[in-house]
């Protein structure tokens, strides 16, 4: 059964089961978060634990469970196990960055029972104007469970939605919820050079994790042609401190003192599952940080190693920077840069190839003194 905005029906008309899934698929280049709210009879979020989202994926009664992948989220519901105080369940889609819901493509909410689609509510950017938070649909109890295709929202985003539900401000709620592993709702790939993503640092002091991975070139045996890629960065902080962090010369940085950037380990083969990792503990202190990958040993070039850098802020965003425009003959790649953007940071894909550190420094204008080093 296909619904249009405003349409209402009794759930019993489409399913006799109290256990089913609600699947929401949003087509968009933007990061669209899917969440769900269990409201009391006055349509208020009187219990914060019934705000189900990527940091709180299960309701206390386990009758609402979020399962999500990029741009898609499914809620497993069991209405019979829901506390009687919960009278309404609202499914919402929110954007926590630049852009509005008018930019989304063909999207849908589906109710699926035992693998069978019982209803579908298609919606798209044409239904919206400047909304950043949309109540896609709701289920509510009035004599019996009913379904309404809402499709209305708020320009003010998630915090406006929470205000509508009488809930606490989002920041307060997030503080009360222990951080949990992130689901990849915030996954963005910066495909092209110059592509940038502004991200919000919702929690001061939360760590940005940078990971470099690459593949061993095919045909090489037993390390004779193993490639060693190093992850490193050049940085300048707002307090004026500047420097280079890289395995070369053993400059691993520091977690507890300036620059609050720490390089975890040197994976010399690329075989370790987690690649090379660098952590930025105070991203808000950065004025300019250039993340680079360096081929230290081996005959391979960037053209053969399929390098990729991931920049992740747990529970917030995950940005993939594939090194997909490799140039032969150059062993130094400035993959991406991090800069401040108002109260947040902006990540821009550069993927510029240089003969080495000195050329890179010259390009970005750090002004370091260079001398040769070796691991």
């Amino acid at each position: 059964m296909e619904l249009i905005r405003g349409q209402k029906l009794k759930l019993a008309d489409v399913t006799t089961s109290a256990a089913f899934e609600v699947q929401i698929d949003v087509q968009s280049n933007l990061v669209v978060d899917i969440s769900c709210f269990g409201l009391d009879e006055t349509r208020k979020l009187s219990d914060d634990r019934y705000f189900i989202f990527y940091n709180q994926k299960t309701s206390p009664c386990s009758s609402i469970v979020l399962e999500a992948s990029p741009h898609s989220a499914g809620f497993k519901l069991n209405l019979s196990a829901l506390p009687p105080a919960i009278k309404t369940i609202v499914f919402a889609a929110t954007i926590d960055q630049e852009g509005t819901m008018s930019a989304i493509g063909p999207s849908s909410l589906r109710l699926v029972e035992n693998g069978k689609e019982r209803l579908i509510f298609p919606f798209s950017g044409r239904d919206f104007a400047s909304e950043k938070a949309v109540m896609v649909a709701e289920m509510y109890f009035k004599d019996q469970w009913r379904f309404s295709a809402v499709g209305q929202g708020f320009n003010g985003g998630l915090s406006a939605l929470l205000k509508h539900f009488g809930g606490e401000e989002i920041e307060k709620i997030k503080e009360t919820i222990p951080a949990a592993p992130k689901v990849n709702l915030g996954k963005v790939t910066l495909e092209k050079r110059g592509a940038a993503q502004k991200v919000n640092l919702t929690k001061q002091g939360q760590t940005v994790h940078i990971n470099l991975q690459w593949d061993e070139p095919k045909g090489g045996f037993f390390g004779s042609s193993a490639v060693d890629l190093d992850l490193g960065c050049m940085y300048r902080l707002k307090n004026g401190d500047r420097g280079v962090i890289q395995p070369l010369g053993g400059n691993f940085g520091s977690q507890n003192g300036s620059p609050y950037i720490f390089l975890d380990k040197d994976d010399r083969s690329g075989a370790a599952a987690d690649g090379e990792n660098m952590y930025v503990f105070r991203p808000e202190e950065i004025e300019l940080m250039v993340i680079f990958a360096l081929i230290y040993e081996g005959t391979a070039e960037f053209t053969a190693v399929n390098g990729r850098v991931t920049i992740e802020h747990k529970g917030n965003f995950e940005i993939l920077v594939p090194l997909n425009n490799p140039e032969g003959g150059k062993r130094f790649c400035a993959a991406a840069r991090i800069e401040p953007d108002e109260n947040s940071i902006r990540i821009t894909k550069d993927e510029l190839y240089f003969a080495g550190h000195v050329d890179c420094d010259r390009h970005y204008g750090f002004g370091f003194q260079w001398k040769a080093g070796r691991k």
């Binding site: 349409q7 909304e131 009035k142 309404s148 929202g153 708020f154």
Partner: protein, 191 residues
């Protein structure tokens, strides 16, 4: 205590309020709480003969024709947003002045520019129609349309009609595709 009706239900106004001479038909809905264009709902009333049609176009009482020729029906005016408690629009009827050739008063609500604004009744919350005795301002009956309003853009909320020597009210909750124009046409108004 007012009689609460569900779709299709009816009540005798004359029995609930003996000596009833004049009523106020109140219509209400919640203002839009989300962002986007306001819900501008318009109430109108059709004075219908036995055949279910208006006697003339003047029997169509709406925002551009607020008073019937005989003065028995008066629309109190247009509300453009639904803001405020209580009735958003109201129509007063002097039952004793309604001509004998009129057997039914059909009360409809339509959404202004529904197509252009992509709106329907399913997006509007807490729509109701109620009948109040003007003599003592007591509510005689009320019909809450919340669960009966869905994708329609025009709806007959209720009907006040003669039954023997009594006046009765029926909760209709019947939707029409299209707006005020097609609805008026169906009652024989030349639009």
């Amino acid at each position: 205590m007012a009689v609460s009706l569900t779709k299709g239900g009816n009540v005798s106004l004359s029995k609930e309020a003996p000596n009833l001479t004049s009523i106020l038909i109140g219509l209400g809905w919640d203002a839009r709480s989300t962002d986007g264009g306001d819900f501008d709902l318009d109430a109108s009333l059709f004075m219908l003969g036995e055949n279910g049609k208006v006697r003339s176009d003047l029997d169509f009482i709406f925002y551009n024709n607020l008073k019937s020729a005989d003065g028995s029906v008066v629309h109190t005016g247009d509300n453009r947003t639904g803001v405020g408690e209580g009735d958003d629009e109201a129509i007063k009827v002097e039952l004793t002045k309604v001509p004998a050739s009129v057997s039914r008063l059909a009360v409809a609500v339509t959404i202004h520019e529904a197509d252009a604004r992509k709106q329907n009744f399913g997006m509007v919350s807490n729509a109701f129609i109620r009948v109040v005795n003007q003599a003592d301002q007591k509510e005689i009956t009320r019909y809450d349309l919340s669960e009966d309003a869905s994708v329609e853009t025009a709806m007959i909320f209720g009907e006040v009609y003669r039954h023997g020597g009594e006046w009765k009210f029926k909760a209709i909750g019947q939707g029409y595709k299209g707006g005020l124009g097609p609805l008026a046409s169906s009652f024989g108004v030349n639009v």
